[in-house]
């Protein structure tokens, strides 16, 4: 073995020495002959003829040295390269097809890997768990990781198997004032022990203790490494110093190491101070835990299962629903919302790759048709069946390597484009790169692909019947065999195409439905500026009211601003969910869930939201006057049927309010759906309490909205300086047109649709090429048969029909199978489609029509060639 290995290394030397030795031999021979009086020229010719085939002898010498297998492979590869370069169109088609498929797979797989498979960047990530709630309704199960404060307290007190911590998985923008100015930074709130549970201690300083992480505990902050560098010049003395955050002094107690990341973008961490009231009364926390050493997952889950009934019993449930708690790995828990979209995309690229393989298999099959004579000749000359298969497989291997390399390059380019969208829209937080993990997966898929498309045609080709292979007869067993394979491939290709096209069609219909929803307001000339009011200086109602009045006064004076208002949440955004109850009418005492937004008087003017009855708010609605509310039409439809609306009273947040107006619905983000009309109420900003402001401002950043004919670019400067004049520590965090918000609200649908649509287009193109190739090659093989038929007097149209029919029939079978497959696949898509049924006839019809058209063209175009057949010529062939 060692000698063989060394022989490989010394290959070059071996070759040159062998050459030198042979030359010496020839020269010595020639000189001998010359000295015997034979002319030099004749002697040289003798030398060559006596020496025989130098190439063959060299091969034998190499074999003698035990380099057999290596040479055999090299020989195969050399021969395969020669074969491929002789047939450039074939090679290029196959390689480009594979490169497109592998490229798409590489790019998508890097996202799949980052979300589903790559271990989390913490020590021993496989021992980290998230607590999840499995809700069972009548028809469906639903899993979520949001938890209540009471659950956290129960787990923390009782668990012996877990080391738990709690955090919010929503990063919120807050204002930080440092020596380098005011910044809006991303804050994540985490409990004491969060970093210990993850297993990453601070680089400097320490994390929060349990005695600090309590309501009204000290104001502390831990900085991310990048914030420490950018805002504090990496000054180690910052630990222990005070910074101004959310308008109050916070003491920095730690700095995290570089590269530390949590699942949401965060520049700094503050104590969560978990409670069971306020935010803690809803599912706003996430509970992470590390299994204590020696505890198995089964033991930990058994412990949670024993707690679960006691915890869940305290929750109120609609009839027919139940819930239980259990542990999932942290990795799976973080990916809970994304998993489905990611898996669907992954299946889609896998299908594209499969279609690509089917195409290449079809090409190879067609080629083996034209090569059967060559193969038969080689077998007749003594080549073994194994050698033929090895030979054909090495051609596939070359195609796979070339396609794989080109595909990796394509994948790299595609990933650069996909990266930003995946991070912003899907919230992929782990690194997205073509690292060894992804490249290994690419290599595996290229090799698998080459086996899928190479193995079958190779075996089929090696089953050549020598006699019929060597004669030119068009009818033999090989062709029959080949045509069965071909029929199978056509059906597979069409069926896979249906699955992808219908899926893409459903998503496109969803997106276009969502895009064309009537917004319910006129956002064309409205601009929104958002800032964080999670600020100690604005914890009382009078302080907030003063800020609102002063800022609106200043902004109203900016030239070009027609009207201005402030609101807690904007259209297209998720709003605050509140409970309410009716105080009069037939349903008095009962209520439901609604969206609640506080607004200032000109809100409906800014957005031109139609007021259908009653009045809007005015500056005369003050804290001490009658508490009032305006409701939207969805609210009236759902909760006020048969009841006089204006003048009725409802109670929310413990305050009774009189309904003074009805306004039109606007699109908002609703749990589960991107945009919809939802029952909602508006209350005047002057009539809410300081406590309410404090709670809602930890979750939402209010927006200043202005109506102006000026473009946004000319408004940002004046708005920012108007605000700075009133409070220099309150920078606007972002400016948006309503169009931006609309786009943002549909970003993830759009990304999913674009990706799946692109893949479907690729699939359609590939299957069009594939089906055309398969049918065209079967026509080519039957040219002689049709020549005979035409010669015997068969009319041309009939021949054309007979050639075209099988392809169309096969496509029909493929369509049927594809539709059945799609019915099953569409169930998986159900959560991603909106406003269309999984069995949407339009999507199915469009997909069927597209593929049928492809099959028709692919069948008819080659069959027209038959019309041009010259019977006399084909018969002579």
């Amino acid at each position: 073995m060692f000698r063989k290995f060394r022989a490989l290394l010394q290959r070059k030397q071996f070759e040159s020495e062998m050459e030198l030795e042979f030359r010496h031999h020839r020269e010595a021979f020639v000189e001998d002959q010359v000295s015997r009086g034979i002319p030099r020229q004749e002697a040289e010719q003798q030398a060559i003829s006596q020496f025989g085939s130098a190439l063959q002898m060299k091969d034998e010498c190499r074999d003698a040295r035990g380099l057999y297998w290596f040479d055999a492979i090299l020989r195969d590869l050399r021969y395969a390269t020669r074969q491929l370069s002789r047939n450039r169109v074939f090679a290029a088609t196959a390689i480009v097809t594979l490169a497109l498929c592998i490229g798409a797979n590489t790019a998508i797989y890097s996202v799949v890997d980052a979300v589903l498979f790559r271990p989390l960047p913490y020590p021993e990530p496989n021992r980290l768990a998230l607590l999840s709630t499995l809700r069972r309704g009548r028809a469906a199960e639903f899993e979520e990781t949001g938890q209540r404060g009471s659950t956290w307290l129960a787990i923390r007190q009782a668990s012996r198997a877990l080391d738990p911590a709690v955090f919010t998985d929503i990063g919120s923008g807050v204002n930080l004032v440092s020596s380098s100015g005011a910044h809006n930074v991303k804050q994540q709130r985490v409990s004491a022990g969060f970093f210990r549970v993850l297993g990453v201690p601070p680089l400097m300083g320490r994390e929060f203790t349990e005695s600090e992480d309590l309501p009204r505990g000290p104001a502390l902050a831990i900085l991310s490494n990048s914030l420490w560098r950018s805002a504090f010049n990496a000054d180690p003395a910052v630990v222990g110093q005070e910074i101004t955050l959310r308008g109050e002094p916070f003491t920095v107690i730690g700095v995290m190491p570089a590269g530390f990341q949590t699942s949401v973008p965060a520049d700094l961490w503050t104590p969560l101070r978990p409670t069971t009231t306020g935010e803690g009364s809803g599912e706003n926390y996430a509970i992470v835990a590390r299994l204590k050493s020696g505890v198995s997952w089964a033991q930990a889950n058994a412990e949670i299962a024993s707690f679960s009934p006691g915890i869940v019993a305290a929750w109120k449930w609609p009839p027919g629903q139940s819930a239980s708690l259990h542990l999932v790995s942290m990795q799976d828990g973080l990916a809970i919302d994304l998993r489905k979209s990611i898996l669907i995309l992954w299946s889609a690229v896998a299908i594209v790759l499969l279609i690509g393989c089917v195409n290449i298999a079809g090409l190879l099959l067609a080629r083996s048709g034209s090569r059967s004579k060559e193969i038969a000749t080689r077998m007749a000359l003594g080549s073994g069946r194994g050698a033929i298969i090895r030979q054909l497989l090495s051609e596939s291997l070359i195609i796979a390597s070339a396609g794989g390399l080109a595909g990796t390059a394509l994948g790299y380019v595609a990933l650069q484009g996909l990266k930003i969208y995946a991070q912003e829209t899907f919230g992929v937080w782990q690194v997205l790169a073509l690292d060894p993990r992804v490249l290994a997966a690419t290599a595996v898929s290229a090799i698998m692909a080459s086996l899928i498309f190479g193995l079958y045609p190779a075996f089929a080709a090696s089953r050549v019947d020598l006699r019929s292979g060597l004669s030119t007869s068009g009818r033999n067993s090989t062709i029959t065999h080949r045509s069965w394979s071909r029929r199978f491939l056509i059906v597979v290709e069409v069926a896979l195409g249906v699955v992808l096209l219908v899926s893409a069609g459903l998503l496109i219909r969803t997106l276009s439905g969502l895009t064309n929803l009537r917004p319910g307001f006129d956002g064309d000339h409205a601009v929104a500026a958002t800032l964080s009011l999670q600020d100690a200086r604005y914890s009382s109602a009078p302080a907030v009211t003063r800020l609102f009045d002063a800022s609106l006064d200043r902004i109203g004076k900016i030239p070009g601003v027609e009207s201005a208002a402030i609101c807690l949440t904007l259209p297209y955004q998720r709003a605050l969910n509140e409970g309410f109850s009716r105080l009069d009418g037939p349903h008095a005492g009962s209520g439901g869930t609604i969206n609640l937004t506080y607004i200032t008087p000109h809100y409906f003017d800014v957005f031109r939201i139609p007021v259908s009855r009653g009045r809007t708010f005015a500056s005369s609605d003050r804290a001490e006057t009658q508490q009032v509310v305006i409701v939207n039409e969805s609210f009236v439809r759902k909760y006020m049927n048969g009841q006089e609306v204006l003048g009725s009273h409802i109670k929310t947040e413990g305050i009774a309010r009189e309904i003074v107006g009805i306004v039109g619905d606007v699109q908002v983000r609703v749990q589960g759906w991107p945009n919809a009309a939802f029952p909602g109420i508006y209350v005047p900003a002057t009539q809410v309490s300081g406590g309410f402001f404090q709670v809602v401002h930890t979750w939402f950043s209010p927006s200043w909205v202005v109506r102006s004919s000026l473009p946004m670019g000319q408004l940002t400067g004046p708005l920012q300086s108007a605000m700075a004049a009133i409070d220099p520590q309150l920078p606007f965090a972002g400016f948006h047109t309503m169009n931006d918000l609309h786009e943002d609200s549909l970003a993830s649908q759009r990304l999913e649709t674009t990706l799946l649509g692109t893949l479907a287009a690729l699939a359609l193109m590939l299957s069009a090429l594939g089906i055309y190739g398969l049918i065209a090659s079967s026509v080519a093989e039957r040219t002689r048969e049709f020549g005979i038929r035409l010669a015997l007097g068969s009319p041309v149209p009939r021949a054309v029909r007979e050639i075209a029919m099988p392809g169309v029939l096969l496509a029909g079978i493929g369509l049927l199978i594809g539709c059945a497959l799609t019915r099953a696949a569409a169930k998986l898509l159900k959560s991603m489609i909106w406003g269309v049924e999984p069995g949407d006839p339009l999507s199915f019809a469009a997909a069927i029509a597209a593929l049928l058209l492809v099959a028709l063209l692919a069948s008819v175009l080659p069959s027209l060639r038959v019309a041009k057949i010259n019977p006399a010529e084909t018969l002579r062939e």
Partner: protein, 110 residues
């Protein structure tokens, strides 16, 4: 007139090469010449099989090669017998004598 050269018997080529080299180191062409010389040109070694045989013997460790100067100052590869090769030659010679004695006995028997 010398008899018409015969092809070397299958399996005897290795033995002839070993014998030729046992008389002193030789390069490839030299092996051809020496076999022709000691057999009085009775054997015609097909040139195409000489080198594969040499490489095979070298691979088996019976002969070893060294680059040196030939008579006309050219670089040539000289083969010489190893200890294992010497032993192999003895074994093959003994077997060959036994075989040819046996054949001779059979042919004389009638």
């Amino acid at each position: 007139m010398p008899p018409k050269p015969v092809d070397v018997l299958q399996g005897t080529l290795d033995m002839l090469i070993l014998k030729a080299i046992s008389l002193g180191p030789l390069h490839g062409y030299g092996v051809l010449l020496r076999i022709a010389q000691i057999s009085n040109s009775a054997f015609q070694i097909p040139q195409g099989s000489l080198y594969p045989a040499l490489y095979r013997l070298e691979h088996k460790g019976w002969i070893e090669a060294e680059w040196g100067e030939s008579d006309n100052n050219r670089r040539a590869k000289y083969y010489s017998l190893t200890a294992a090769g010497r032993k192999q030659l003895r074994t093959e010679t003994a077997e060959w004598s036994r075989l040819s004695d046996a054949i001779a006995a059979v042919l004389k028997a009638v």
